[in-house]
């Protein structure tokens, strides 16, 4: 038996409905992010005090905020930053976590023990506090946010991959591969990894939602994107005090963030179904 994973066997015709819907929503947001300048004629950072707090209408479809910025333009442009936070927020952790988990789980022994101690030290700090501390040291901005997430969030993936690798290293096709004299690297990459990565792929979708939430929270603390850059979390925070008088400032970015989260969650669910049934 070849060490091909379930991914290779996934076939489109068996795609679960949740994956189709979730994927479509997520894809739609990516399109919106790319086409934002085409979709709206307004500049998301242009202030116009004379146009402040205008309710949704013919000119400003989603109304304007407290300093007269177009809420629609800000909501659309914000997709760029929020999607970037979702994507880059998980891409670093999954790469680092997978490498560490794979090595630890496959090689075992002292290397495993050492890597797991590092992991324990990392998780012994409260997650949010550690991210804030790292961002504070590196300075505010998206780049330091990504670095800090990578340094903190790899543990989830390392654990997932390690537990899979621990099991897989004893199964027949891996033993057979060893018997044939394949090197460790080859076995890890081509035989263990494709099978061990499955739970991570499902998890990554949920994690992306958490990355957006975390990014927005950091924005609230001044450690995320800086004003006047549009970002959903920051927009909701801005609109909070206007909820009873100018609901549109917070509601539209709120809907946007819910939609993206829904899309990602459905995708995760669909992926889980797809990969489980196939394997």
């Amino acid at each position: 038996m070849r060490g091909s994973g379930p991914l290779a066997m996934a076939r489109l015709r068996t795609m679960p409905a949740t994956l189709a819907i979730g994927g479509a929503i997520t894809l739609a947001w990516i399109v919106v992010a790319i086409l934002a300048p085409v979709l709206t004629g307004f500049d998301p950072v242009k202030v116009d005090v004379m146009q402040a707090l205008k309710p949704p209408g013919a000119e400003h479809w989603f109304g304007t905020d407290a300093i007269g910025r177009d809420v629609l333009a800000r909501t659309l442009f914000a997709a760029r930053y929020d999607l970037a936070m979702a994507f880059f927020g998980v891409v670093g952790p999954i790469i680092l976590g997978t490498i560490i988990g794979l090595i630890a789980g496959y090689l075992g022994g002292r290397i495993d023990a050492a890597l797991m101690r590092i992991l324990e030290v990392t998780v012994s700090f409260p997650y949010f506090v550690l991210v804030i501390a790292i961002v504070a040291v590196l300075g505010p901005g998206l780049k330091s946010y990504f670095i800090s997430l990578t340094l903190v969030n790899w543990v989830s993936y390392a654990r997932l991959v390690r537990s899979q690798a621990l099991v897989l290293r004893g199964v027949d096709f891996v033993l057979a591969a060893r018997g044939m004299g394949f090197g460790h690297l080859r076995i890890m990459l081509f035989h263990i990894l494709p099978n061990a990565i499955v739970p991570s792929i499902v998890f990554v979708m949920t994690d992306a939602v958490l990355a957006i939430v975390l990014g927005s929270s950091l924005g609230f603390l001044g450690l995320g994107v800086q004003p006047p850059t549009p970002e959903w979390g920051a927009m909701i925070a801005d609109g909070q005090t206007y909820l009873t008088t100018a609901w549109w400032i917070a509601i539209f970015p709120g809907i946007a963030i819910c939609l993206l989260a829904l899309g990602l969650s459905l995708t995760a669910d669909g992926l889980a179904r797809l990969l489980n049934t196939e394997s």
């Binding site: 242009k46 202030v47 005090v49 925070a237 005090t241």
Partner: protein
């Protein structure tokens, strides 16, 4: 005078979600009248000499009696613990004659206690706000009822300062017995209310002081001063009847509360909202550049967007509520052409600067983004850096900043301590950390504080205001009002310009 209370509260709002009190019922199950106030920052100490923090000042104002007592809106000060006072002809010796009064534990308030409290405030090393009392050199108890204070120069604002929170009278015996730290957590008081309980991070509970010297006061049985960091939660608590007073209401919610029958009218405040600039660093080390920035900013637009018209755009660095405010000064108008010309003259064309904004403050963010957009039209690039308020404060104090959104208020209506706080280069805080230092201004401030004649003082203060606006000591933006909302049952209570409930003794709760 730095009472960064509102800022801090806003900054904390991000991660501390207000916990609702366990009991949603009124605290007056037994029929007692407890006034419940909600504020956005936490009470940190109950020792009047150890703080310059808004929440502390508000609470301590209700706990400690002072030598003089202000009327509700603090337009004048009259007899307090001192029934009368004499000022020597040379203006340097003040003699206060005390009335018979008692502390909350029933022990008498003597001249000895007054001298002790004042000496602590003036000379103890960790006294937080001794600065305005520089001319005061000696405080002594002449006999059981007489306190004599000696100044080294004529100092007209002195009497108005005998009412501010940190001159609150504390019992010598209790402080010495308990030590400062223990006293700060469970003090014996001299004002309308006695200390009942302090729950850090939650509330301070005060009870009626049966021994308070003002007959028939206080009318209510106690005060609960609750820490509710999130602005909107605080408003909801007022609407739900869990609070009687909501302090620091966000401007957009005032109209709604008023319509719902709450007393929600803006109250005059001595606050100036400003952009502090670092005169010792690039690019603000050039007068022409500072002026270019000042002319490039549209104060009227900022005031309209941030306060929704409940404040006034700045014409002076001093608030219009202060005495000797120069009414003849026009609102500092925007003039883009002039700003561009000044920028060219300064040789800093294409300059940029970092504008620090306290994270979590929606008002500051709005103002900062507007400044950014307005100065872009002049050709100056502003990079906004939203940072946590503690770090922002440290950088300000250390001079490691270019510009920072900020605000300050004054305790008294007399402008002396305001000016010493914000433009007096000879002070410890280097003109509120702007490093602005004009010998002429320093001299005029000293001269004005020694002048007894009102007309002459007015003239001197007008002169100072003109210079500091011309030289952009700080970029004053607008003067907001205190935005508080009171339940209809609360009667006779207002917050005055100096962030004090001076009328709390006479306030009632139906």
């Amino acid at each position: 005078m730095d009472r960064r209370v509102f800022l801090k509260s806003a900054a904390l709002a991000g991660f501390s979600i207000a916990t609702l009190p366990a009991t949603l019922l009124r605290a007056n199950a037994d029929g007692s009248k407890i006034l419940r106030m909600g504020y956005g920052s936490e009470v940190l100490t109950l020792d009047p000499i150890k703080t310059t923090y808004g929440a502390d000042i508000l609470v301590q104002g209700m706990m400690y009696a002072r030598l003089l007592h202000a009327n509700p809106d603090r337009t004048e000060v009259g007899p307090g613990l001192a029934e009368s006072w004499d000022i020597a002809d040379d203006g340097k010796t003040y003699t206060f004659h005390l009335r018979e009064a008692k502390f909350s534990d029933g022990s008498p308030i003597t001249a000895e206690d007054v001298a002790f409290s004042w000496n602590r405030m003036r000379f103890q090393k960790d006294s937080a706000y001794a600065a305005p009392f520089q001319p005061l050199t000696k405080i002594e108890a002449k006999d059981a009822r007489t306190v004599v204070m000696t100044l080294d120069r004529k100092f007209t604002p002195f009497l108005t300062l005998t009412e501010i929170w940190n001159t609150g009278i504390v019992p010598k015996a209790a402080v010495e017995k308990m030590g400062d730290d223990a006293f700060a957590k469970a003090p014996v008081t001299s004002g309308p209310f006695k200390f009942v309980e302090l729950k850090p991070g939650d509330r301070v509970v005060l009870g009626r002081n049966e021994h308070y010297y003002r007959e028939g006061e206080p009318k209510i049985d106690g005060v609960e001063f609750r820490y509710v960091p999130d602005d909107n939660t605080r408003v909801s608590m007022l609407q739900a009847g869990e609070l009687d007073v909501c302090l620091a209401v966000p401007a957009p919610r005032m109209a709604e509360l008023k319509a719902a029958g709450f007393r929600a009218d803006p109250e005059p405040s001595s606050t100036t909202y400003d952009m502090l600039i670092n005169h010792s660093a690039e690019p603000f080390n050039d007068l022409k550049f500072c002026q270019a920035v000042s002319y490039g900013i549209d104060r009227t637009a900022i005031n309209a967007a941030v306060t929704l018209g409940l404040g006034t755009p700045a014409s002076s660095i001093m608030s219009p509520t202060l005495d000797y405010f120069d009414k003849s000064l026009p609102v500092i108008a925007r003039d883009v052409e002039k700003a561009k010309a000044l920028l060219a003259e300064s040789g800093k064309t294409g300059a940029s600067f970092e504008l620090i904004q306290n994270a979590g403050s929606a008002d500051e963010e709005k103002a900062a983004v507007l400044i950014q957009a307005q100065l872009a039209e002049v050709g100056i690039t502003v990079n906004i850096a939203k940072i946590d308020s503690t770090q922002a404060w440290t950088r300000l104090a250390d001079g490691e900043y270019q510009a920072e959104m900020n605000w300050w208020y004054n305790e008294t209506r007399d402008p002396d301590n305001a000016l010493r706080w914000c433009v007096w280069g000879a002070g410890d805080n280097k003109s509120y950390y702007t490093r602005y230092n004009n010998e002429m201004v320093n001299k005029l401030i000293d001269e004005a504080s020694g002048e007894a004649d009102n007309a002459k003082r007015a003239e001197l203060y007008a002169q100072i205001q003109k210079i500091v606006v011309d030289e952009v000591a700080q970029v004053a933006l607008y003067h907001p009002t205190w935005l508080n909302a009171y339940a209809p049952s609360v009667k006779g209570l207002i917050l005055n310009v100096g962030l004090q409930f001076s009328s709390i003794g006479g306030a009632s709760l139906d």
